[in-house]
């Protein structure tokens, strides 16, 4: 706001405090010019985000209603028959189930284990705590697809180092990724290892919002470390728990890179999450079923959206708790 308009607004305010701010030709002209600049600033985002994020969200709905076998072939409208086919496909339901199991395996592990580590690493008394933070965060910055490929070799049943270690201590080797009963657990463990550091940094940031005075006061009152954690740290972390869970759970929907490079969804579809299912029908099939895959994608989008909504509701609840604490 410029000084001239501020003065004009002030003069206006003497007569009519509400109408004054919008009166006068200079004001509207300036405002129009300002709005022009504003939309000019937004233009790159409107164009790029519009084309590559908003348009695809809308277009998916149309594509889900057509029969379409390849990006360069014709689309024929078929109504909701793609949805009927997807919903009747046991492999789709299996991928929904695996996505959910994966989420239930990795999200609590990431959230709780990293909290424990963050509490330890946040203590100023721990030697080299900065170095540890760096080390535990390191896998986060590495390329997921490359880690996935390397992990295939690390878990290799015959020459991989993990099975070599198992045999060295006299145990039987395990075909971690080749066995459909263990593959999902193996990928989950690697996923937790890979993205653990992000959640750990979230928790450290949350812990640092608690002032050290609170701890000092508790110590003077004779509270032990466990009591301090139970009665001071945990209640103060509660609102953060909800936000951190939201971010971590939404993150579990982005496991495509690791799944495709480590297992490709196999063996026998045992690690096929919804994104791999979509990918398989759209890009890996000999005759691509793009309409069918789009219907699955729309359902997946709705699924993510609903999970997000439930959690946003949780965030509002967290905000309320925070407001009450203040």
């Amino acid at each position: 706001m410029s000084t001239t308009t501020a003065k004009a607004a002030l003069q206006g305010a003497r007569q009519d405090p509400k109408a004054g701010a919008y009166r006068g030709p200079t004001r509207t002209k300036m405002e129009r010019r300002r709005n022009l600049w504003i939309w000019l600033f937004l233009l790159p985002t409107v164009v790029l985000y519009g084309l590559y994020s908003i348009y695809p969200i809308i277009a998916s709905y149309w594509y889900s209603l057509v029969q379409w076998n390849g990006f360069e072939s014709e689309q024929t409208f078929v109504g909701i028959s793609n949805y009927e086919a997807v919903l009747a496909d046991p492999a789709f339901w299996s991928s929904v189930r695996i996505t959910l199991i994966f989420m239930l395996l990795v999200a609590p592990a990431r959230i709780l284990l990293s909290l424990v580590l963050a509490v330890v690493l946040n203590s100023p008394k721990l030697p080299f705590s900065k170095l540890f933070r760096t080390v535990f965060f390191l896998p986060v910055v590495t390329t997921t697809a490359i880690v996935g490929v390397v992990m295939q070799f690390i878990f290799d049943p015959s020459s991989g180092p993990i099975n070599a270690a198992l045999r060295a201590v006299g145990l039987d080797g395990v075909n971690f990724l080749g066995d459909s009963s263990s593959a999902l657990f193996t990928v989950s463990a690697v996923y937790v290892w890979k993205f653990f550091g992000i959640t750990m940094i979230y928790w450290i940031a949350a812990l640092q919002t608690i002032s050290s005075d609170v701890y000092e006061a508790a110590k003077i009152d004779g509270a032990g470390a466990v009591q301090i954690f139970r009665f001071i740290t945990l209640p103060l972390l509660k609102p953060f728990l909800i936000i951190i869970s939201l971010l971590t759970i939404e993150d579990t929907f982005r496991a495509f890179d690791l799944m495709l490079t480590m297992t490709g969804g196999g063996p026998f579809f045992s690690t096929e999450i919804i994104e791999i299912y979509i990918y398989r029908w759209a890009f890996a099939a000999s005759i691509p079923q793009l309409g069918f895959a789009s219907a699955a994608a729309v359902l997946f989008g709705l699924f993510v959206f609903v999970v997000g909504l439930i959690q946003l509701w949780g965030v509002y609840a967290a905000r309320r708790i925070q407001a009450e604490n203040k």
Binding site: M1, P56, Y63, F132, I146, F283, V304
Partner: protein, 294 residues
């Protein structure tokens, strides 16, 4: 506690012993963490070791990490024969351009959304927040179709545009949050000096955002360098456009037995991000922690 303190006044030796004793649980924690940390980075140590063993030794050496002879030719094979020199160049080009576009577009958008109320501002903000968590698997089919229609599929330009157009909402939110808390007097002073909207932004506001710009640039760099789904789909029919991550997947598909070449390719691909992280750690951590604080 207090007993130990009184003793420590007596002599220096006691004081040191006392402190060690009081801190001993932390040294136990330290020892435990040190072992875990070693196991934590073991996959990377293994990869580096494997990249230096010759193709026979890698299958026979078991748990022994140290190569007998350093087989540097693995790196030559990965760089030249497997095409990772080319993939590296592609990845650098895509990453640099995407970072530039994302920083410019998000700084501009974040500035107006964070500092101005205008007709439509709430709608724009609402749409951005509502689409914050859109997964790539949902948008990928229309993105490919659109790029095909625009003649941008199978090109690096197409990849850059798709990568800088999809997601990145969090960068706008980081900028908006930062601009919002800057004092109002800054703009007023600049307008008194006769600067217009654009000059105020460019000469007064933008220089103040360096810490945020560093964070956004780094996180975008990381996200783009490590991206896989989009580059994979965009380079199906043009192998020479592969990025490092896509190249790695293809390499293993074609040479399943060349473990040491695979490991060398992995080291080549990961070293730039790891080096960047170690030197600029502070910004990475701040950028990620920001999601919780706001």
């Amino acid at each position: 506690m207090s007993v130990l303190k009184e003793q420590s006044v007596g002599s220096g030796l006691h004081s040191r012993a006392g402190r060690m004793l009081r801190r001993s649980p932390w040294w136990i924690a330290f020892a435990f963490l040190a072992v875990s940390a070693l196991l934590w980075v073991y996959p990377f140590i293994w990869m580096v070791a494997a990249s230096l063993k010759d193709s026979m030794e890698i299958f026979s050496s078991g748990l022994n990490l140290m190569p007998k002879v350093f087989a540097w030719e693995n790196y030559v094979r990965a760089w030249e024969d497997a095409g990772f020199g080319r993939y590296m160049l592609n990845t650098i080009l895509i990453t640099v351009w995407t970072v530039i576009i994302v920083v410019v577009r998000c700084a501009l958008a974040g500035y107006v959304l964070g500092r101005y109320k205008f007709p439509g501002s709430r709608i724009v903000m609402g749409i951005l927040v509502a689409t914050l968590f859109i997964p790539t698997g949902y948008t990928i089919i229309p993105i490919v179709k659109l790029s095909l229609d625009l003649g941008l599929l199978n090109s690096l330009t197409g990849m850059v545009l798709a990568l800088s157009g999809a997601a990145n909402v969090s960068a706008i939110l980081i900028y908006a949050g930062y601009f919002r808390q800057l004092p109002k007097e800054l703009e007023e002073a600049s307008i008194v000096d006769g600067a217009g909207f654009f000059r105020t932004f460019f000469t007064v506001m933008l220089p103040l955002t360096m810490p945020v710009t560093a964070t956004v640039a780094l996180l975008t760099f990381l996200g783009t360098w490590n991206s896989f789904f989009l580059p994979l789909v965009f380079s199906f029919s043009r192998p020479e456009l592969r990025t490092l991550s896509v190249g790695m997947q293809a390499f293993v598909g074609e040479n399943a037995v060349d473990w040491s070449g695979m490991a060398a390719a992995g080291v080549i691909s990961i070293i730039p991000v790891v080096a960047l992280f170690i030197f600029l750690q502070k910004f990475f951590v701040e950028g990620i922690a920001g999601a919780v604080k706001s």
